[in-house]
Amino acid sequence: MTTHTTSAPAEHAQVHAHAHEGNGHHSHRSLYLKIFGVLMVLLVLTMVAAFLPLGQLNVVVALAIAMIKAALILMFFMHFRDSDHLTWLVGAATVAWFLILIALTFQDYLSRDMITSIPGK
């Protein structure tokens, strides 16, 4: 379903009442099946990558594939790409909050060894 940014209350309600009965929506079935196929390929790829001797890079590759999977689910199954700006704002805020959580915690842990002598202690 496409998003409508304009609002013309009365007529709009009528149009969408019909849309809910099925006339306004065309199926995304074939798209979902394609996305599902790609997700399955990525799952196998995750396993293959896990057995490759990449050392430190194993976790990077694993997370990169996980993020691609997550993006596909988010954009297509959850229709995020068709969402309105407010929803994008919620999405961006979510990422921002999580990064703040990580960043503020790590600025503590990473800097603990930097201070060798604390004056007055």
Binding site: A10, F36, T46, M47, L63
Partner: protein
């Protein structure tokens, strides 16, 4: 229900201008809830990142105790359930009740299979003395590692059970919610596309969390690099 009147479209509540605005508000509410869910799981992911960074060897040892095949199968099962949920939402919008109900039931069955596999895994973990607080003493590792290193492995298992446990709880709630929704749709012979889609958002989110849990918990060191 003995009510002869079959509701044909969702009622427009008085505080909305039109159905589009009402639907968008419902979905925005769901997205906001999911944002709080990210914070909920986020604390655990933070703890995971921090302690894996500090005690990498212990986490690698712990991860090798898990059955990656079970995690692999479960990831596949969850991705299948996400497909059936996406199809359910699609059929709901098309107003096709029968395929909608079939896909909701398939989603519930796949979710239950996931939980079944998880239950078997947990019982094996119990048998192998891998549950912290109960009797944490995995035979192989007790001989190989000193007390401090064993503590790091234990920390991995605390996070493993907390994260997969919280995820499993979300699955249980999801399956129950889909069951209730499917029953209501069956009884009322009516499906509100937005309601189905909102529940779909929740289900896909739970799947999303697992997509990250699987490599982070099961696939740390299958090559024995450390």
């Amino acid at each position: 229900m003995s009510n002869a009147v079959v509701q044909e479209e969702p009622a427009l509540l008085s505080h909305f201008d039109d159905l589009q605005q009402q639907d968008d508000s419902t979905k925005l509410g769901m997205w906001t809830f999911l944002a709080t869910e990210v914070m909920f799981f986020g604390g655990m992911f933070l703890a995971y990142i921090l302690f894996r960074w500090k005690y990498h060897a212990g986490f690698a040892e712990g991860s090798l105790e898990l059955i990656w095949q079970a995690g692999f199968i479960n990831t596949g099962v969850l991705l299948c359930s996400s497909l059936s949920m996406a199809l359910a939402v699609d059929f709901a919008k098309l107003g096709k009740l029968r395929p909608l109900l079939i896909n909701l039931v398939i989603t519930m069955i796949l979710g239950s299979i996931f939980l079944g596999v998880k239950a078997v895994e947990y019982s094996i973990d119990y048998r192998d003395h891998l549950i912290p607080g109960l009797d944490f003493a995995p035979h192989k590792l007790v001989e190989k590692l000193d007390a401090a290193e064993l503590g790091h492995v234990k920390l991995f298992f605390v996070l493993y059970f907390a994260m997969t446990g919280l995820h499993a709880l979300h699955m249980v709630i999801g399956i129950a919610a889909i069951g209730i929704l499917a029953f209501m749709i069956y009884r009322n012979k009516f499906a509100d596309g937005t309601t189905v889609e909102s529940l779909g958002l929740y289900w896909h989110f739970v799947d999303l969390v697992w997509v990250f849990l699987f490599p982070l918990l099961y696939l740390i060191d299958l090559n024995h690099n450390t």
